[in-house]
Amino acid sequence: MITVRFFAMLKSLAKTEVKEYSVSGPVRLEELKSMLKKDFPALSGVLDSRSILISINQEFASRDAVVKDGDEVGLLPPFSGG
């Protein structure tokens, strides 16, 4: 299972906090994004934006990273803490 977590405006757009995907093997982030766009059409316009960062297991990940069973993926809009 891969757990995808949505935050801030992405959570509002997706209308959910979490989405889980059962995978048979490792999945490239690009493939995961395609699945997300299909399931959450409202995210299509922003998922490829350079201002959306992606974390894997709570560490920043590069765009060509690979996700595997048990991983937690975070979709992180621009931060506004402080």
Binding site: R5, F7, A8, M9, K11, S12, S51, S55, Q58, E59, G74, L76, P77, P78, F79, S80, G81, G82
Partner: protein, 145 residues
Amino acid sequence: MKTKSSVLVKIQEKGFSVGEVVESVKAASKGIGAVVTFLGAARDFSKGSVITGLDFEHYPGMAEKKLIDIRERALKNFDIIEMAIVHRTGKIEIGEDIVVIAAASAHRNDAFMACEWAITELKRTTPIWKRETTKSGEVWVSETP
């Protein structure tokens, strides 16, 4: 180190006392001559809009990890003795405190530099998001669009 971080670095719903945070870093050493503190507060006006309230969301676990990381990098890269970081989450009223960073050092320049670096790094790397309530509704803020 882990114990210390968990006392000096916190994300919490409740308010904090600036005085207590300053005391927590001062307690580290009698060699401290300077404590520089940054306090972020909820303004009533931002980018042309009247703000009536704020609501902060964070990525539990990752946000704490990033703050601990900022403290550890500050201790490594600046000549400071201690640093504390407390950030609130959830609903915050106008005028209330949002975040405090206290940097303690022997000499003031090091504390000023470390404190300013830490708040900039917090805004850049910590998964915390602010939602502003304005007359036209609630909007998520993107400081770095």
